[in-house]
Symmetry: C2
Subunit: 369 residues, 2 copies
């Protein structure tokens, strides 16, 4: 048991929050950078004195800007990932690189909706270097090489169901999610849209470049980020291990792709990749986590059907990889004694237990050095 | 002289980067949260089982999503700011709250384009609590209550000029900006677009809420964020002081508004506010910084004309506030012996000198307690 975990148990026993008793975190180095991406260049010749402004009595800055970009010959640096990293004192060898899921940013891994510490702080306290990502075309990486039409469509209730918090306005019974309005407000405000189409290839390219820059490490993905993680793992051998929280899809080798999994709330078509690519995912340990409130049949609810079929697919994939001499551990948290989790186990009320399970797995695989 | 400043001078003398010799930073607390914003609700009644899915052989997840949001009765939590904060051990009383400028996010204040420490780390080392903001509709606060049409228009060269780095591809002579291609690549990739129209009122509302939450502190703005800072200062008395790096506009009291400042590259129309509102800005110390390469006349270049008129306006505003018993210090960095700065003094090659000047000002105003 780590020191923080002990402290947190004491804190819980005393009815205190973790923050009030936690020791300071000693940060050896922290910073941010962009990685990956491309450069888009407009036709024409850059004109530092666009014509529009020459004969007007009144000049609008935006008119000048428009004239400047219309003259062309300019570049746009886009489609990169943005990374914020912290390296604690006396750090372990393997950093943890965290990639968010759909509609999220690096906020996923920071403070929880009810103000407790997320995996960022939890694993810094456990002396892991922590790298947080805003994937290309999301959050601070909003500079995209393609146009984006972002609609301000109210959809919180859809995601409340999809993320297995409950069926709005009802919380799932006993769910490990805070029930006060302030926390739900914070949770909804973690969301941030795509600026340009989601592109798993572009995102995994940026992860490839990231691991080339930082060296070996462990990739931790969530949900939509799962497929990005599998692609990145096929691109870069420096990814020592992959940890996937409720990944949405999986790459099967050609010829071994299972049939489409059907549900009333959206089917899942398993991904197909060349066998040689698939084999690369058999060369490193992988752990996949699923939370609670996942039924064992198609139950007619959005959350139940969506996660029933994705868990089924995860089981098929784990079996396939392991049949090819891979090393996939599939953890259904309730079966491991960790109950009541939503689609966001790493920020749920019991996220210290969830973190502890991950650290034990890393230790078992010799990855906590 | 602070300890880090001394270390950095030794480092410079030895040809080392600051990072290699800097001591760890002890972080008492760090985390993130959303603040401010509104809730938009769609008409209709939330339907957890949208009809579209009932009679189809094949169900597409996005069709289900569309049917769900079309049924209505859902919410969108948007227009909030996202805040990442760090409180160092033995912290000073007044936190520094940093707001970026146009096209930027909290990345502005983090690692510099050439990998040195930005104001985030520099002021943490000087024991100030540091709050970094992604303003509403920017970066991690991309969830907007209005639609956004984001065009992927190449415009790097326009901003290279506007930010006084030079006239692309030429760097201004002696400019305190790194000249290697990797640094310029990083600089361009700091940019991230608006997701929904820029709205200084919404942004200053979120700052108002932030200071209500964290208590008294110092607001530091950049460029487009300048006007937001003046508005926030009129809304919240807990803003003890305002530090503005090259603000783009200023609020004058009705009846004392100077004429429009004209230039070939865009005019500036001074902002007008009721006198009672203006008076609030006379109740706290304010420092305004401008960098180098600003001519003393309209010189026919984009950067020269734009910043000549804005500096002129800054001088007029400082005079107006001080005439009303206010306390504005206008610092033209070259006249203070700090030369060669772009529009981003806080990340330029000499940003430790720029930080030192700010800390001396804070000390002089009794704000470094």
């Amino acid at each position: 048991m780590t020191k923080l975990f002990k402290i947190s148990l004491i804190a819980a026993a005393c009815g205190l929050t973790v923050q009030t008793v936690a020791a300071p975190i000693s940060i050896e180095q922290q910073g941010s950078f962009a990685v990956g991406g491309t450069v888009k260049t407009s036709e024409g010749v850059y004109n530092p004195e666009p014509d529009v402004v020459k004969d007007k009595d009144s000049n609008n800055f935006m008119d000048v800007f428009t004239a400047s970009v219309q003259a062309g010959g300019q570049t746009l640096h886009g489609d990169h990932a943005t990374v914020f990293y912290q390296i604690p004192t006396d750090a372990r060898k393997n950093p943890l690189v965290f990639l968010h899921g759909a509609g999220q940013s690096m906020r996923t891994w920071q403070t929880t909706p009810d103000g407790r510490e997320g995996f960022q702080n939890i694993f810094l306290r456990r002396r892991f270097p922590v790298y947080l990502i805003d994937q290309p075309r999301r959050g601070q990486s909003g500079r995209s090489t393609v146009d984006a039409n972002v609609k301000a469509v109210p959809d919180d209730q859809f995601w409340f169901a999809q993320f297995r918090i409950g069926s709005y306005p009802d919380f799932a019974e006993g769910v490990a999610f805070p029930r006060d309005p302030k926390s739900l407000n914070q949770f909804f405000r973690q969301m941030t849209p795509n600026v340009g189409a989601f592109d798993a290839n572009i995102i995994s390219d940026s992860l490839d470049k990231l691991f080339d820059r930082i060296g070996s490490g462990i990739l931790v993905t969530h949900s939509q980020g799962g497929i990005v993680g599998w692609l990145a793992g096929m691109k870069n051998e420096k990814i020592n291990a992959i940890v996937a929280y409720e990944p949405g899809n999986f790459p099967f080798p050609e010829g071994e792709v299972p049939p489409t999994l059907k549900s009333r709330f959206g089917d899942v078509v398993p991904m197909s990749v060349p066998k040689a690519e698939f084999e690369k995912l058999t060369k490193r340990p992988i752990v996949i986590y699923f939370g609670d409130f996942i039924p064992d049949h198609l139950d007619g609810t959005q959350s139940g059907e969506q996660w029933y079929i994705r868990l089924q697919l995860a089981k098929q994939w784990a079996e396939t990889v392991n049949k090819h001499s891979g090393d996939v551990t599939l953890v259904e948290l309730p079966k491991a004694g960790i109950k009541s989790n939503t689609h966001f186990p790493f920020s749920d009320l019991n996220n210290l237990e969830v973190a502890e399970h991950l650290q034990e797995w890393l230790k078992a695989k010799g990855l906590d050095q």
